[in-house]
């Protein structure tokens, strides 16, 4: 909750912060031990989702900079409708390309 409060005070973005934290929970659930390797988190945001894309992006940056993550970049994919969905995650597992 520390990150949430800090960001909320920084910009009154509590709404997007709570969504960002839910997105982090989903990512953590998918990745488990690989969470620190996350480099991109892509989120579909519909124009009627009731979410301010740039604000969500700001909050995702804050949340994904804190452990277990290590600075994943948010990627907001704007679309139509009321969609709000984690589209995909990209991880860099440090292994050379094969």
């Amino acid at each position: 909750m520390g990150a949430s409060l800090r960001a909320a005070r920084a910009g009154g973005r509590v709404h997007e912060m709570s969504l960002a934290m839910e997105i982090a929970r989903i990512a953590e659930e998918k990745l488990g031990d690989a969470a620190p390797q996350l480099v991109t988190v892509a989120v579909d945001v519909g124009d009627c989702a009731g979410v301010e894309p740039s604000s969500l992006e700001f909050c995702l940056e804050a949340v994904f900079a804190t452990p277990p993550f290590a600075g994943a970049r948010p990627h907001i994919l704007r679309c139509s409708g009321d969609v709000l969905r984690v589209a995909y995650l990209e991880i860099d597992d440090g292994r050379p390309d094969d």
Binding site: H15, S18, E22, G50, V83, L84, R85, A87, Y88
Partner: protein, 224 residues
Amino acid sequence: MAVRTIEVRERVMARNDELAEQVRSRLAAHGVTAINLVSSPGAGKTTLLEKTLGTLGEELDIAVITGDVQTQNDADRLAVHTRRLVSAVVTGGACHLDALQVMTAIDAIELDQTRLLFIENVGNLVCPANWDLGEKEMIILFAVTEGEDKPLKYPKMFENARRVVMTKTDLLPHVPFDMDRAVANALSVNPKLEVFRVSALTGEGLSGWFDFLRDSARPVTTSG
């Protein structure tokens, strides 16, 4: 660099919605009607609940869950008006209640002895719209001191609500508030809204609200 893509395609609200459905079926199994009260801070949720508990608390076996960012003040205010437990959820910064908090809170409530459950949400006209709590319906309070345009500024809340309670009508002589325009704005966002007009201070309009609640609560089962 070996970057791998993992397809997810998971709705952000999926887990909350799943928990909300569990809350909903649990409440249904016990015949409890749950109402999620939302509004901006200070619109009069706690005051309306105080009056409601005072008049109908016993008659309709009302239980209450209050959500608050930092304090238990609302729960303390309400506990004065009922012998039943008022369950306080302190969200610790979050701007809304979520279904997990409600799920935990109803564990402490005697559902078999409850017919009507009020959930006083955190005062906020934005966030609660996204978070289903498993309620039967969301009701929005809209005070005459807030300005007629609020339904247009916060359409999602008014779209999701079934009813709107215009509060503090005793203040109408003192504020430049056009009730007809405010209601028209609400209806333009959601034509199905049913509108109440009440003053918790003078009691004006409360009888219509109480009648609605009597209709919403399941009848007392006489068997057993």
